[in-house]
Every structure is written in C-alpha cells, then in structure tokens.
Symmetry: C2
Subunit: 222 residues, 2 copies
C-alpha cells in the first residue's frame, strides 16, 4: 500500500489525500512534523515538505502539483483534470490560486498562529496575523461565491482538482472555526456537495490533539 507523509492540517497534503481517495487509492498515512527536519524524511524530499507519496515500489514523489499531475497520468480514472484545453487551464489556474493566494493570505497565517505557535509552542503568537487572515478570507469567499454561481462545482458540472484544492484549504480554515458560513450561502452549498463525497470522509475525521473543531465541522448537512 502506498504511504503518504502528511500533516493533519497541511492543506497541500489534504489536496493529495482527496485526489488519492477520488482515484480509490488506499494509503497508509504517516504524520511528519516537517519542521523537525528528520534526516530520513529529507532523503525522501530534499525540500523537506509534506506531502510526500511513496509508492509500492519505493519511489518517492514530492512537490504538490507534480504529485497531482503524476496521479492524473498514472491513474487516469476518474479524471480530475477534465474538459477542453481551456477548461484544463482554468482548473490548473485555480489550483495555483488556492495554493498560493488563499494559502499565503489565509491558511498559512492561521496554521502558524493557531497550531504551530499555540499548540506546538514554535514562535510568538501575533494576533494581527489572525485578523489579517480573517479579513483576507472574505475576499476569497466572495471569489468562490462568484465561481459557483449557477454551477455545481468551481469550474462547471463536475468535481475537479480545483474543488479538491479549495476544499483542502477551506477544511483547514473551518477546523479552526474561522468560516462564518451563514454569510456565504452559495459557498456553503458548494461545500456541502464537496463534504458529501466519499473522498472527504477520512480527512474530516482527523483530530489534532489540543484543538477541537466546531461541531458542524464533519457534518455534511450543517
């Protein structure tokens, strides 16, 4: 069985978990605290970051988008990069958008403040960062609202890697209780559809010692 080195609240690792689950690949999950820079882990990925996927033949795959593209080529069904050249471009643009923009402006700030600093004691808490993240999140929720108007999923009728990327980030932000769902009914409808997928199930059952998610966190109907 392939092994995925991950961390519970790493949106990049969650993105790959959703793709693997959509493609019905069962995996062994191994928690890796990348900040400890464990030599055996650095040997798998010199960048020292999760996710790293080790396949049954022992070959290690790293780099979030490189892993995602690899999985789409190695296990084409069900396809998660679908449609015309332009539609596939749009899916990849959104994957980049979520991983870089919402990643830098929201998720990384929250994980750093609420997990690394408060729970693991790495660094000094900074409440401005949390306020910034809350402010930036509004822009992204507006953007998702615009994307899902008249659509089931972010780029059209079907679930794609763009939805997996957005859900990976939103599920982490929601774990901290930082999404005010009642303000964003269209995003909530989309996220209910995403949450009801089998591929989200294991991920929504994870619990990080020391932080409890809000009650609605793993409810499909919330």
């Amino acid at each position: 069985m392939p092994t995925l080195y991950h961390h519970w609240l790493s949106p990049a690792a969650r993105f790959i978990r959703v793709i693997l689950a959509e493609k019905r690949v069962d995996i062994d999950l191994r928690e890796e605290r990348e900040w400890e820079r464990r030599p055996a882990f650095l040997a798998l990925n010199p960048a020292g970051e999760v996710p790293v996927l080790v396949m049954d033949d022992g070959k290690a795959y790293s780099g979030t988008k490189a892993i995602a593209e690899y999985l789409e080529e190695a296990i084409p069904e069900p396809a998660l990069l679908i449609g015309s050249v332009d539609e596939r471009y749009e899916i990849r643009r959104l994957i980049g958008w979520f991983h870089t923009k919402i990643g830098t402006e929201v998720t990384r700030l929250l994980v750093s403040e609420k997990l690394h600093k408060r729970i693991y004691g790495i660094g000094v808490p900074d409440s401005t960062a949390v306020r910034c993240a809350a402010h930036n999140l509004k822009t992204h929720m507006k953007y998702i609202t615009y994307l899902v108007a008249d659509r089931n999923y972010l780029t059209g009728k079907y679930f794609t890697m763009a939805d997996a990327a957005a859900a990976a980030h939103l599920s982490v932000i929601d774990y901290f209780g930082d999404v005010h769902w009642s303000d964003w009914p269209e995003v909530k409808d989309w996220y209910m559809r995403v949450k009801s997928r089998r591929s989200m199930r294991s991920l929504l059952q994870d619990r990080v010692p020391g932080i409890r998610p809000p009650v609605h966190y793993d409810n499909v109907d919330f």
Copy 2:
C-alpha cells in the same frame, strides 16, 4: 500576435518567454510593474502578477505553471514535457523546485534588494539578504551539478521545461553578476548549451535601465 505582460527580471515571465520561443510563438512584450497594481492589469489577473499571456482572441492566461501546461497542450510541438509518466513527473517536480526553492531562497532576495530597493527605491536595503542569497545559491549550484552529471540537460538528453525554469532563474541571478561560474564547471557547461538555444536570445538581450549585467552575460561561450 499574442501579448506577454512581463517584467525584465521576473524569472516566472522569463520561463514563459523561453517556452513561447521554443514553440516558435512570436509575442509582443509589454512591461508591467506589478507593484503599481494598475487596475487594467488586475482585471487581466486578479492575483496582480506577471506573467500574463493574452492570446489573439483576447483571452488572458495567468498563473505561471497553468500557462506552461496550457502552452504544452495548445501547441504540443516541440514537446517540452516529454517522456514516460515518471519522467514527466520529474520535469514538473523540478519546475516546482526552481520556482519555489531557488525562487524564495535566492532570486526573490536578489531582485528585491538589487532591483526594487536600489533602483526603484521601494523599501530599505538589507545586506544580510544578499549574503543569504549568495549562501543559498551554493546549495542550488551543487544540486544542478548533481543533476547534469553525465547528462546534456537536467532530466536527460533533451531540453525540457525543467531546463527552462532553471535557466529563467539563473539568467536573472547572472544578470546581477552573482554567479561565480569558475566554481561550477558542470553547471557552466549546461548553461552554455542552454544559452546557445535560439529561445534564450531575446531574453539575454534585455537591459534594465540603471543596472548593467557582467560582460559574459549574453556570451554563449563565456
């Protein structure tokens, strides 16, 4: 003719320029100072970053890797993402490696210190950042040395997007005169091969007002 919004010393824009030139697409280059956040440019790319490619039908493409994958699908020949599933994975992993690792640890520091601060007067110069970049560059030169041992190009016999990504960064670092080529003979051999490609020509002829590159900068044989 398509238009590419770029900045002279943006490695991401250089990466796309090399791909376009390899695929024999002539373009109009338009300089965009992304930090000025010009509304018409933000309308093309809400992320506000170069490169943005506007095709003849007016459609705008943004997100560096999304543009690269789009070009490979829209204009398949000559192919720049070649080989088996595993070889294509390795090309994509290296694209990610160069854009994130060498990008964050070297190029961004140098562009910020030597271009934005000294030439455009944005922010206060910080000589530690330049020393850090020089130190980090050594690790990356060692890594490229390891990759090109017994190979013409980074992933094998042929020039791929991985070479384009590495050359985009190294050409910017070299513009500032920060590569000590005599210490890295294998990397120099590889870079000579890359520089001799037609696709590198226009890029090596760019000059930024206020900074002159070293004499060897655009010499193929240096």
